[in-house]
Amino acid sequence: MIRFDQVSKFYGSVPALRDFSLEAEKGETVVLLGLSGSGKTTTLRMVNGMVMPSSGQVMVRGCDVSDWPLIDLRRSIGYVIQEVGLFPHWTVAQNVGMLPKVVEWDSKKTRQRVEELLELVRLPYSDYALRYPSELSGGEAQRVGVARALALKPDILLMDEPFGALDTITRHHTQTQFLQINEEQNVTTLFVTHDIQEAFRIGDRIVIMKEGCVVEMGTPEALLENQESDYTQELLVSVTLQFSGEEKDDITR
């Protein structure tokens, strides 16, 4: 679905990403885990052409990103960021209906889809449709953000620390909900985070990144059992502690 082939990105002479290769299968959730400056956001933004590689190749659905008509490519890929970015002058319904409006669906079809999406993120249409973003809590706003990203039924979803600004409890709920949605929708997801527990909870596969390079990659289970690098080992101490607790159910779900 998404393939990175020895991709590098330089800003001037400063490398942001070096020799990065990755293949994400359909329906898979790949988490890019690393500290800030590790190149994970750069990687994410290459998938929808917001950043173009300096060398190497990024393929989406078997076709090079640079060969895609950018507008079409971007409309077919959901995009969720930490700041959410709901248009403050639009209601929840208008925000979720943004892309249907852009591709000129008729209003009945749009409304149906918006109702469906708000249902999906557990925000009843009758309560929320006419609210403005300023009338939402952080968690609610981010769920609207996810709904908006899913409006045109994309088969790829890019999420850049989507739950990073939420408090611990809300984050936990939102993650749970996301996992359910993700299962139903069967969307290929690239998920950027620096939160290790989140990475292990959400990822089918985890790519651990440092200073623009891949340190290690594998399924959460494989990484927990066997770490090849010291950096990974160090990172995983906190997760292992968590795993002994009652959350294990969620993680292996």
Binding site: I71, I81, E83, P88, M98, V102, S134
Partner: protein, 495 residues
Amino acid sequence: MRSSRFIAVVLILVLAVCQGSERSIIVGSKPFTENYVLAELLCQLIETNTNYDVERKFGLEGTWMCFRALERGEIDLYPEYTGTGALVILKSDNKKDQQFENLRNTFEERFGITWLEPFGFNNSWALVVPEALAVERNLQTYSQLAEQTDLQAAFTHEFLERKDGWPGLRVAYGFQFEEVKGIRHSLAYSAIMEGIIKVTDAYTTDGEILQYDLRLLDDDRHFFPEYLAAPLVRLETLQEFPGLEGVLNTFAGKIDNARMQQLNLQANETGDGYPRVVSALLSKRSMEQQVGLVEARFSMILRQTGRHLFLTGLAVLMACVAGIPGGILMSHNRKAAIAIMGFANVVQTIPSIALLGALIPLLGIGFKPAIVALFLYSILPILRNTYTGIVDIPKSLTEVADAQGLTSSQKLTYLELPQAAPSILAGIRTSTVICVGTGTLAAFIGSGGLGEPILTGISLNDTGLILSGAIPASLLALILDFVLGRVAVAVNPNK
């Protein structure tokens, strides 16, 4: 009743805004009492004796502006003085050129403009001092005045500049005053009464000479040439409007110095000013006239308010049409933005009078240069606010718009314009208020509007007239500011 009055007001405003399709005779004047009186006299003569429409463009600043306007056909006639014609317009101090017949021939040949018959009086320049001072120091002539070196003098700007004015006179008599300043003619008398200055230039027919008890000194070396007042008219105009010449010559040779002094004094003393004095001269019944004048002032205020609104509205509209797309383009090209903003900032810092003046050689006087100047002043706030309104949109919003595949026009209509709207509106609001203010100055170049009564009022020392322009102008600014403030609240998208 109320609605019919409203309709009447709207009609008057509409009429004020629309220029009549029938061409009217445009009469200009310089900004001092006597010229107003003479210009008004010519206007009323046309109005009472012909069916032609008259448009008044009074109070044009100085000879140069009046004559340029006449040359370009922006006005048809104005009262001018023969001495000024020779010295200022022809730039000749040859005594032969100053003779009336020669002057007329030269003007007809060179400019297609002619002098009609002089009114009769000689309004020469003269220096005046307070009568008390004259008695105290026994001053009769300029030569005696030249011996005084402890006096403060203030002269009109034109007098200070002209070769036949102060520079020539100073050399001819060897004047050495303690201080010489520039001042507006109408303010010079107040200054002399308050004792701030002791000497000023006056015209031999000034009514104030009687009013303020001033002494006209004798030009014992005959420095000043003759200044016979006469209508200066375009030859084309005389052909276009048959019978006009005879009508304009009605008062040829009928107004002597004493009568003109009297008329000037009356025009300054009566609150209603020169139109009434002229009507009286044309011997109309004064009661009828008085009622008419109150109405005339009210409709003048309405007309000028309409004119002012029209000028402001058109300039701001043009500024929006250019400024909003300009700001949008700038927000897409930050480098160009810096250059354009720099240029607009420079334009904004040019003093308005200077900008208005600079536009005269390019566009003449009246409506066109005024609109251009107001437009130039209005565009910066709109340009800047559109630009910053868009640039200041949170990055997360523009990122989502880009990442979800909005085209740049969709991004503009769905995100950028709604988000920048309050800022753009604030810019329009600033522009409008600036425009209403600067618009009063545009009356200097004959644009009309509420500046006209203000300037005329200053020239005639008529507080009522000043206020009848100043109060509506201030109210207009406050009202527009308030209304646009409400609109800004209404369009604020961030509920």
